[in-house]
Amino acid sequence: MERAEIEAKFTQLLVSELGLDEAKINPEARFEEDLEVDSLGVVELLMALEDEFDVTIPDEEAENLATVRQAVELVVAKLAG
């Protein structure tokens, strides 16, 4: 899967699962501060990512995700194996 495709799917998930405004989503956006996703929302997002991309994200890796770019990078790395 291409990076652009992953980014597009990720944006879709943020809109469909968390109800975010697509206009606010950019690579540098921070989940808690900029997108107002609360701690449970981050968990919901991780579970949606696991389902959508068929990857496993352990808690210790999930703890460090603060921005959209970091989350996309993690998925890209997971898919690259």
Binding site: D38, S39, L40, V42, V43, E44, M47, D59
Partner: protein
């Protein structure tokens, strides 16, 4: 083969209400914060003991089944907040009901306790040793509430619900179940110092309050409740479209929404009353079942999925097919005594022990 069906149901909600606005008056919290994260608007605070609530719910369930207390041969009380450890809450219930022919025992699987007890009770009937089993979920959780911890103290409430199980040779009854435990993760939801492990001299009050890693519990709850719900439906041999209603443990609206998504159920087939009572642990499901019946949301022959998750970390799920009767045979006039104190006066012992109180 003889199965076990629910023939009576009842709930007991204490009259004193603690709203999110009430909490705002003495905690750094807000209605918006609590509602958006949990779906809870208010909860009940009991002025009587766990066994009193359990007994009221039991009287109502027996009346709905057209039975008398002496007809009952087993009482199982699911609770993690019994009046005393010895005797069990079930012992008080047996005495208060006057159920002189019944054995009685408490079962602690925290928030999964009602489904565990339902499955145990049903299998006693299937095994042929018991005929009329009273299964009660009852909790007085406010006893444990440390209002200096705003992440846990807003979540829980008091209440009780009860069902009567009887044998049937029809199509109705318990179709499938799963009882699970992830004991390795027990520290993520616990009351660490309440029990022999605690140091009763040196421990700080916070050691006997609820401790929870919210996001961790949330993630596991969604995974286990959703997964177990899917597995019990498959085990029951029914199609997902044949599920009439999900009656989940009421811990968090977002956990319930996620569980419903795993079953692909639309919201009109999911029962939710968390806004009114918060998390009453083992009592949420029998209270919710009773309200679903009161609201006409259980039709004859309905396939019901129960699912729960809680301290342990325990989980449980079951599929139960309802019988033909959705109306109670009778009603009981047993009720709570009037509350002799205000809600905040009922919480004064918590403020005295843990700290924080209304300004």
């Amino acid at each position: 083969m003889t199965n076990a069906a629910i023939t009576g149901w009842g709930k007991a909600l204490p009259p004193s209400v603690l709203s999110n606005e009430d909490l705002e008056s003495f905690m750094d919290t807000s209605d918006e914060w609590i509602t958006s994260r949990t779906g809870i608007k208010e909860r009940r605070i009991s002025h009587v003991e766990t066994s009193d609530m359990a007994t009221i719910a039991a009287h109502r369930a027996l009346a709905a089944a057209g039975l008398e207390p002496h007809d009952v041969d087993l009482i199982i009380v699911a609770t993690c907040s019994p009046d005393t450890l010895i005797p069990s809450a079930a012992a008080y219930v047996q005495a208060k009901l006057g159920a002189k022919n019944a054995g009685a025992v408490d079962l602690n699987a925290a928030c999964s306790g009602f489904i565990y007890s339902l499955v145990f009770g049903a299998n006693m009937i299937r095994g042929g040793t018991h005929k009329r089993v009273l299964v009660i979920g009852a909790e007085k959780l406010h006893y444990y509430m440390d209002f200096t911890d705003r992440t846990t103290s807003v979540l829980f409430g008091d209440g009780a619900g009860a069902v009567v199980l009887e044998p049937t040779d029809g199509d109705e009854g318990l179709l499938s179940s799963e009882l699970g435990m992830d004991g390795d993760a027990s520290e993520s939801l616990c009351i660490p110092g309440y029990g022999t492990r605690g140091d009763r001299v040196a421990d700080a009050p916070s050691e006997v309050g609820v401790r929870m890693d919210g996001p961790e519990v949330f993630r596991r709850a969604v995974t286990m409740m959703g997964g177990a719900s899917v597995r019990v439906v498959e085990k029951a041999g029914i199609a997902f479209e044949a599920v009439d209603i999900l009656i989940p443990h009421q811990a968090n609206q977002r956990i319930i929404d996620a569980t419903a998504r795993k079953l692909k159920l639309p919201s009109e087939r999911v029962f939710m009353n968390i806004g009114d009572y918060g998390n009453t642990s083992a009592a949420t499901i029998p209270i919710a079942l009773t309200e679903a019946l009161e609201q006409g949301r259980i039709r004859p022959g309905a396939n019901i999925v129960f699912a729960a998750f809680g301290g342990g970390l325990s989980w449980a799920a079951a599929v139960l097919r309802w019988g033909q009767r959705t109306e109670p045979l009778g009603t009981s006039d047993v009720d709570f005594p009037p509350a002799d104190r205000t809600t905040l006066e009922l919480l004064q012992p918590n403020f005295d022990f843990f700290g924080l109180e209304p300004q």
